[in-house]
Symmetry: C2
Subunit: 359 residues, 2 copies
């Protein structure tokens, strides 16, 4: 029996995608082989790769002048690859710190460039995002980096920072394709696939053409944007099965009505859960209302001692992976694209019943 899986990533995937993958796992398109067993340079796989790029461009309404790269090493790899590709020695870069993931991006970037943390929410214990009017890159910044959604804190930007001519770089791992976004506002968007796009092992990078002209000496070839763009992300063997699953996931997204439909569904899912939390003294969410995440909803019990009981009974009710991140504790429900509205309703019903029996 399938459960409702609220994991933060690797995360639940559409059952239709898993079913399709299963149906052809050892005989792909009548080839007598798995898609895992064919060359990345075969006609059929190149078609998978190109179709998935085209579908991504269509779904996200990517304007002309951007490259789409499919890389290995995850978003954490890009924490290094971005300054390697977008800065020269001695360059300054601006970072916004809104939680655990932006802090990790800062730490890795410091190894390659001088980092100015131009806004820092540590003082609020990462319960909100910087005010739109105050957020500015430092003078001479090669780019400004921010994390539109923090998966651990459940904090999300309700706006796209205005940074003038400075390229805006966004780690969209946990929010990509959860709603339409104006791509032209960004210089570079990157995202590990394992939350909204498919399984772990693939990282998507959308980068504006003019930013891939310069790349630093000693950038590893597999992360050199110029090289990888010229090779259609096939300088070396890509993670073909992950790429194929990403393609199936994008097809599923189109079948669901695209990003407008996703936005509506995700807004509703999160809104229903926050309303349930706010409507009770038994549950609480610490994040400022304007900065609440649609994707990751952390919550606390008035009596923390009940957490293990909550998790155990939720598990028995088919609601899994609701523990908060090990660094912060508490509870957390991740509501990525593939979490159906019925899963959120089942969680809300469970929470109400749990409150009734334990309040």
């Amino acid at each position: 029996m399938r459960v409702y899986n609220f994991a933060a990533g690797p995360a639940t995937m559409p059952l239709a995608v898993l079913d399709e993958a299963r149906s052809e796992l050892s005989d792909w398109r009548g080839s007598g082989m798995s898609v895992m067993e064919v060359s990345h340079r075969s006609k059929d796989f190149v078609q998978v790769a190109r179709e998935s790029e085209a579908r991504m461009r269509r779904l996200m309404a990517v304007p002309e002048g951007y490259r789409v790269l499919f890389l290995q090493g995850g978003a954490t790899g890009q924490f290094a690859a971005i300054p390697m590709n977008l800065t020269g020695p001695g360059d300054r870069v601006s970072y916004v710190n809104t939680g655990s993931w932006s802090a990790k991006a800062v730490a890795e970037a410091r190894r390659y460039a001088t980092v100015d943390v131009v806004a820092d929410e540590a003082a609020t214990n990462y319960t909100t995002v910087p005010d739109q009017d105050t957020l500015r890159p430092a003078d001479g910044a090669a780019y400004l980096h921010y994390t539109p959604n923090e998966t651990i804190g459940g904090v999300e930007f309700g706006y796209i920072p205005e940074v003038g001519d400075v390229p805006l770089v966004a780690d969209m791992s946990s929010t990509i394709m959860s709603r339409p976004v104006e791509i032209s506002r960004f210089g570079l968007i990157y995202a590990g696939a394992q939350k909204n796009l498919g399984p772990a092992g693939l990282c998507v990078v959308l980068v504006r053409d003019d930013l891939i002209r310069r790349s630093r000496e000693r950038t590893p070839s597999v992360w050199d944007y110029r090289t990888m763009a010229a090779q259609e992300s096939m300088l070396n063997t890509p993670p073909t099965f992950a790429w194929y699953l990403l393609g199936l996931t994008l097809k599923w997204l189109e079948d669901q009505g695209g990003l407008d439909a996703m936005a509506e569904r995700n807004r509703t899912k999160a809104g229903r859960l926050y309303a349930a939390i706010d409507g009770s003294d038994f549950y609480a969410n610490p994040v400022a209302e304007s900065a609440r995440s649609w994707m990751n909803v952390p919550f606390l019990l008035a009596d923390p001692a009940l957490e293990p009981v909550f998790l155990q009974q939720a598990q028995e009710a088919g609601l899994t992976n609701l523990e908060g991140h090990r660094s912060v504790g508490g509870l957390r429900a991740s509501l990525y694209n593939a979490m159906p509205p019925e899963g959120v309703e089942a969680l809300i019903d469970f929470m109400k019943e749990f409150e009734r029996s334990h309040a």
Copy 2:
């Protein structure tokens, strides 16, 4: 209907592995989730990771004092990561050039260190390997790198180079676990998984403890051996599904009788095919007998104009991906662990029949 797939990589996988993966693709171990959908830090997945490492150590008889890392970015990523981790600025390193893959490793290493190519088979058109008595690292080399098997040329070392105290580094992507190897002779062994170990997207690195003490500034964290060893290869989200499939493949290898059984099977498979080629004027293999690969058998037709006909009829007979690498042309049969002896016999029968009708 399954075919016999002679692709060089991504390559054929054991049908038993694909069947097991399929049977639990959307409900892993009764969890109601796919293994792709669970956290890499969950108890169940950590067990998969640890079991696969233990199984690899057992199968390969890895002695104490080596770390096993599971990294992203492929062997091509390691072309950069190895000098990053094993050299300091100004260091010299020795490389052996026996074909396309060692040449790529040389080109990438030159970006990080001074490379001495201490043996080069370009003059033989890559049809043999250096003589055992002449192969030596240059004075002061931080390591000596070689490619035990070249997938394109079909050239393989019949011996392990003797390099004294200099760490020996081997790209075993196409030969790992195809037979027992004396691990203690090596400082570092690395291998992309997509030939003998599973699907693309995972790279295994075995490295001797004393070599991970030094790592160069600005080594990306996801490729820093020390960091990754300390984090059990989970600094960031690993490619979990690829890792799981690697685990199933290792289990299959144990069921087959381990590496001694594999060596016997692989020796026989290759021997049968070379005998068929050598026993005919219609087919030819250009490689020196002592340097012939068990894993990749390139061959030519006396009349190259017949190649497209050969490939077409082979495909119709259920024998696929027999074209040579695009850089060299001709034909090639890759005979990794997962290619059953029956596949090789079917190929030999087809070749004989093709010769009868076209000679």
